[in-house]
Amino acid sequence: MTAIETPQADGRHVGRPLKRKEDPRLITGRATYVDDLNPVGTLWMAFVRSPEAHATITSIDASAALAREDVVAVYTAEDLDLAAPLPMAWAPPGIDLNVPEHWPLARGRVAHVGDPVAVVIGEDRYSVVDAAEDVIVEYEPLPVVTDPEEALRDEVLVHPDLPSNTVHEWSLGGGDLEAGFAEADVVIERRIVNHRTAGGAIEPRAVLAEERAGHLTVWSSTQIPHFLRLFLSIMLDLSEERVRVIAPEVGGGFGSKLQIYGEEILAAWAARKLGRPVKWCETRSEAMMVTHHGRDQIATVRVGAKRDGTVTAFHARILADLGAYMMLLTPMVPSLGAFVMSGCYRFPAVQTDIVGVMTHKFATDAIRGAGRPEATHMIEVALDQLAVELGLDPLEVRRRNFIPADAFPYETAIGITYDSGNYQGTLDKLLEHVDVEAFRAEQERLRAEGVHRGIGFCTYTEICGLAPSRAVGPSAFGLQGGGWESALVRVHLTGAVTVYTGTSPHGQGHETGFAQIVADRLGTDPQLVEVIHGDTSQGPNGLDTYGSRSLAVGGEAIARAADKVVARIRRFVAHKLEAAPEDIELRDGRWIVRGSPDKGFTLPEVAGLAYIPEDIPQDMEPGLEEVAFYDPGNFVFPFGAHAAIVDVDPETGKVTLVRYVAVDDCGPAINPLLIDGQVHGGIVHGVGQALYEQVVYDESGQLVTGTFVDYALPTAAELPSFETDRTETPSPVNSLGVKGVGEAGTIAASAAVANAVMDALRPLGVTYLDMPYTPMRVWNAIQEAAR
């Protein structure tokens, strides 16, 4: 038995469930994550972190730590000579943001539990932890505010040197909201809380930095090696070409590694200072405390509708708890939701008003879905609430408001153009799997037996393929950068192919899917196409992986680079066969003159023509490689219909997910196996938030959920298998027709589960309840309703 597939000669690989090229190294323990690297002489870092949520640092005594034989240095903020603070990369035009300075070590004052005060560097993993305990820090506690609504009142300031806790106000709307509500027969309003969650990548963060002769190499468990190189260069005042960042095998990200973390900067800074490699591996307790959180929004959602369920106005007012510091994209995240506040519906008037506020908690930032799960949750939960109010079937309300399949490209009320969609189509397909009528009969029967079963739906669309520079860039949405992606496709003399992508995967399977795209275009086998990623010294500049962009932007860049190589192949072959380049085509693995299959060249033979160019015209360059940069014309908008079925035990409040069916449309599949994997994982991320996961701080700002004992990630025992299906509606935005799928499951799942729980609870008198549906919360709601 071997995990390496033998090369196949038959052309078409796109669309097939090819097994992953990544897997052989991963299933044999031969993959290399950051913590697997131990260069000779490596020093270890450990942090002294604040136990207080808000306090003045009155003294730091590191003498006992420094006296230890195995300690090399202890640094505090005073020692750091960084050229700039940690970055926040969003500056929306016309909006003032009230942003505190954020340094890798706290300067005189701490603002959340875990704020690093000092870093201890020593000879080994264990001894630096001991030494960190020997650093004596005295704090003078300051008043703490952890509730975002209380924080809005500015009675306690998160940063006393700033005028207010409010970071920003940001709005996006379109259509006549007032008129929409005026013509509504019914208006409902719900307060919908989307609680704080953690990314939960199973590999905690890790960084290793080494400087040799003025050149810095940093290995980091990051989603964004190219951004990290840029900010290392800025913060360390080091010319960018001297900085190399490598994201080797990365053990999951889910947005939590889409960040520039102080620990990464400190490791690099210390490695330069001490002239030895410096390494830091986060503990899980640190990960829960200081790897950015997600969600944490309180929304007030108002929906106006006609009696028949036609929505006339949709208004979401969002208070976002951003935590104590603005990290890379912290205040931007809620705004991503505003772009799809129309959901998959023809809402004539839509408005999103966001207020970002600071509290003495760690920063929130992008976690799988980033703003879109919150928006989708608001829309889909509110539509179910509306349906109940109107006495209508929740699916009927959705159908009545769907943007019809023939209306694409469709410009929503806020002026965003959805590229393609067939929302009725995915719902129809879902209902082929889920017999609602039969379910209702079963529900009735089970209720008589004391089992409260519920069904919930979510029909969603989302915005991803984060790119168009003209839409997301500095003068538009305000991200301080572009949104393109790059690729280099290199055919070697032997016909083997190396592809360099600017995206940086952490489990998604890029090496397989991208190889399929290139193999088909060049007429080779994916097993002979190696995809290189995550090393800033390899290949062209890139913009990394987040926002379900890798395929729709990075994959298209690869397709375009491959097409450029194809253009070169045509010229070499045309010259050799004395034909016109446009008459050269790929057939059965050979490049031939159209209609003359007798003579032809395989890819290795073409490579021979290109690299041993004895016989090419003077104006023709030898070689067979090309670079492409791609900046798309629009985002892409995947969509789908999900159904969740849950059982609620009214005696204990326990909610069990019984069945989950997902129909997603992310355009034509490159590799359906990878899509299923992304959908499965995405669903569980949303189910986890709905049923189990919550980051909890108490009133004094202490983190209650500091480990996996308290923060309940779903395990296999809690979950059913999923039923997944797809429809394929191509996107007109890119030549592959593809849309992202990494976040879709998460974006849909929490609302589907929430609606199912409420469907189950409604006969018990509970009409609305916020996530997470923990036994205590559900049981309390049932008791309260019975009173």
Binding site: A3, D35, C281, H680, A716
Partner: protein, 163 residues
Amino acid sequence: MQITLSINGETRSAEAEPRTLLVHVLRDHLDLTGTHWGCDTSNCGACVVLVDGEPVKSCTMLAAMAEGHEITTVEGLARDGELDPVQQGFFEEHGLQCGFCTPGMMLTARALLNENPNPSDEEIRVAISGQICRCTGYANIVRAVRWAAEHEAGATAGEEAIA
């Protein structure tokens, strides 16, 4: 102290402090980095190895305690260049994404199949419920273990399912 361990059929020695956890001796002293470390509380199971055939979270065991026991890590799963059916199953059924939890998952699956050659999906789920995967949603891990059960040397149970 000198710690001598029997790992994947080989005798290996390391000089480590008595307090050193098995996971760290494996990784940092013996360069067996296929075993991972993912949490501080024995919840995630990324560090699972087999100790005398039983899955053990190697972050809960001092290396010194492992002396005299037979330890199997992911590096020892394949024999004579042949993948273990569990490894092959994870490959066939897309049972992994980032791969960080995978070694621990596979070792638990191996122990399960040694005890119970034909487990139900429910039994597979319970067996791996002490471990966390954030990527896959577990569905394909369950399929992977089932694939392995159906393809064990001498397996008969699954053959109908394949045909």
